[in-house]
């Protein structure tokens, strides 16, 4: 196929755009339209209720713990997977992908089985006054688990592509492994890391299933933004649900923008 005809090209574009519009553009646009249908004032009131503010800060709090944790762990995992000379790499690969394969609801139930009142560690934890299920630690655990693979999966191919010659060169020039990591490896994989972080953030703030199971959905205590959206929706508070949804969408957009602005220098 040396040259696509003009009409083929236009048809392909239309199909792609229609697909995107149907699946993404129209629903998201509609949410935003419905949100601001009755003016900004109503939206503002809806997202500044005590429950909404708490849900918002709880969502950010969970993300603030889960994202750095999964970023560091993800980079480490990618380094081990690509550079490491260990046995059982295939098993580690499978473990990294596990959260993709398991339904979030199952993850939540599994956490309850381990940490819940009748779970393995439940009685011991209860004796020592540590609450995991139906409280913040459980929600963080659930979020960490479901958003685990993103950074590792984004960084691995980049590491593979850059190869290890630059790292070897750094070593011959006298750099320690630590210096090599900070000065050579990390800058080389930074776009992979950034993209992985964006996906992790999106997953963390958007996570519903696993968090829903372990949170107990206690209003003003263990209610995240997604849980709030669901509650308002089931309570026929459509305007409120749209407002909270719009807030979620805005956080996601803000992360994306922040990442693309983070390091605009070109080196290719």
């Amino acid at each position: 196929m040396l040259e696509q005809s003009r009409s083929t090209r236009i048809t392909l574009r239309c199909v792609a755009l229609a697909y995107l519009a149907l699946l993404l553009g129209i629903p998201v646009g509609l949410v935003l339209y419905r949100t601001f249908e009755h003016g900004v004032g109503a939206v503002w009131d809806s997202v500044t209720t005590p429950a909404a503010i708490h849900a918002f800060s709880l969502t950010l709090e969970i993300a603030a713990i889960a994202v750095p944790l999964n970023t560091v762990l993800g980079i480490l995992t990618a380094l081990v997977l690509v550079r490491g000379r260990i046995r059982g790499k295939a098993i580690l690969e499978a473990i990294v992908d596990l959260p993709f394969a398991i339904s979030p609801v199952v993850v939540g139930l599994a956490l309850i089985l381990v940490y819940g009142r009748i779970g393995w560690f439940g009685p011991w934890l209860a004796d020592h006054g540590i609450a995991i299920i139906f409280s913040l630690p459980g929600m963080v655990l659930a979020t960490v688990f479901v958003s685990l693979p993103f950074v590792a999966r984004e960084v691995s191919p980049v590491l593979r592509e850059i190869g290890d010659e630059q790292e070897q060169a750094a070593a011959t020039l006298g750099a320690s492994s630590w210096q090599t990591f900070w000065r050579v490896t990390l800058p080389a994989i930074r776009w992979g890391v950034a993209y992985g972080v964006v996906l992790t953030v999106a997953r963390c703030i958007g996570e519903f299933g696993a968090v829903s199971v372990v949170s107990g959905k206690i209003a003003g205590q263990t209610e995240t933004l997604t849980l709030l959206v669901e509650k308002r929706f089931t309570n026929f508070d459509l305007a409120g649900a749209y407002a909270a949804s719009a807030l979620l969408a805005i956080i996601a957009l803000a992360t994306l923008l922040a990442m693309t602005r983070l390091n605009p220098r070109k080196d290719h």
């Binding site: 060169a169 006298g174 050579v184």
Partner: protein, 318 residues
């Protein structure tokens, strides 16, 4: 001085280096020459510390460095594919070794500027590697390796990824640079012309062993084996013997020890004339033997395709 003592390297079942013994004089430029898979790059990486030998020792300037990390060996290493730090400017690339040694900023700047002048990249300080040509990138990599004032400079097929013209320029330039800087240099190459052109000493490697070590002239004139001889220049097979094409003598009459052959083609290359011959004793489909003679000799013989001639090694070379 670099001493390699009885070094063996195994990769699983593959025996990459077999009992290598090698001494490299301080201040010399030595080439490790061999076909791919002969172990020359592995040997270089063992000297650098990028590979750990299965057994044997590596001694740099009297110090056993076999178990030292590359960071502690005081070596400069240049890779075939440059291994440039793509996210850093030329200045930062060359400064890297000095920065990790926490040298003062002004000292680093002066040193980098001086080195970039030496390698002919003055004015390119703010460029990124992607904005340089292959030859420029490799000169930057050389400056980067030289910045830490290494005791030993190791070059792994440094011109292998460049086109023929740039390659020839760079090796002349490398030879001049070596005469100025005098750092002990080991160059890995599979190109015999490159080795003969640049090196003081050549170690020819074959299947994980060193076949012969010596000066370019010694290796060319007195190869210890057919392998070394055929690797270090063109050869012609005359019966059982390997002979250089320019050591063949042609005559129109039968002489002692000469073989009968038919001229296939006569190629005039200015001063030199190449005569392709098919030996009478050779079977069907045999490769023609190439003899290299001067124009004067060719004019005396008045050769043309189809003629029958007699060919034997020049007596001095036999």
């Amino acid at each position: 001085m670099i001493t390699v003592e009885n070094v063996d390297k195994h990769y699983g079942d593959f025996h990459a280096l077999k009992g290598i013994d090698l001494e490299i004089e301080s201040g010399s430029l030595t080439a490790l020459l061999g076909p791919s898979g002969s172990g020359k790059s592995t040997l270089l990486r063992v000297i650098a510390g990028l590979e750990i030998p299965t057994s044997g020792r590596v001694i740099l300037d009297g110090k056993d460095v076999t178990n030292l990390a590359p960071q502690q060996r005081g070596i400069g290493f240049v890779f075939q594919h440059y291994a440039a730090f793509k996210h850093m400017t030329v200045r930062d690339n060359v400064a890297f070794g000095l920065k990790v040694r926490k040298k003062p900023k002004t000292e680093i700047k002066d040193k980098v500027d001086e080195l970039l002048r030496v390698v002919g990249l003055d004015g390119y300080q703010q460029r990124y590697p992607s904005q340089l040509s292959g030859g420029q990138r490799q000169r930057m990599a050389l400056a980067r390796a030289l910045a830490i004032e290494p005791a030993v400079l190791l070059l792994d097929e440094p011109f292998g990824a460049l086109d023929a013209k740039v390659r020839a320029e760079l090796r002349t330039w490398l030879r001049r640079l070596h005469d100025e800087v005098h750092v002990t240099t080991v160059l890995v190459t599979h190109d015999q012309e490159e080795a003969l052109d640049v090196a003081d000493t050549i170690a020819v490697m074959d299947a994980g062993q060193i076949a012969q070590t010596g000066g370019p002239r010694e290796l060319y004139d007195a190869p210890v084996s057919d392998f070394v001889m055929s690797f270090l220049g063109p050869v012609a097979r005359l019966g059982e013997a390997l002979v250089r094409p320019h050591d063949l003598e042609l005559s129109v009459d039968a002489r002692d020890g000469a073989l009968e052959a038919q001229v296939v083609r006569v190629v005039h290359l200015g001063f030199e004339v190449r005569v392709e011959l098919l030996l009478a004793q050779a079977g069907e489909g045999a490769e023609p033997v190439v003899a290299q003679i001067t124009r004067a000799e060719e004019q005396a013989l008045e050769l043309s395709a189809g003629d029958i001639v007699w060919v034997r090694p020049v007596l001095a070379a036999a």
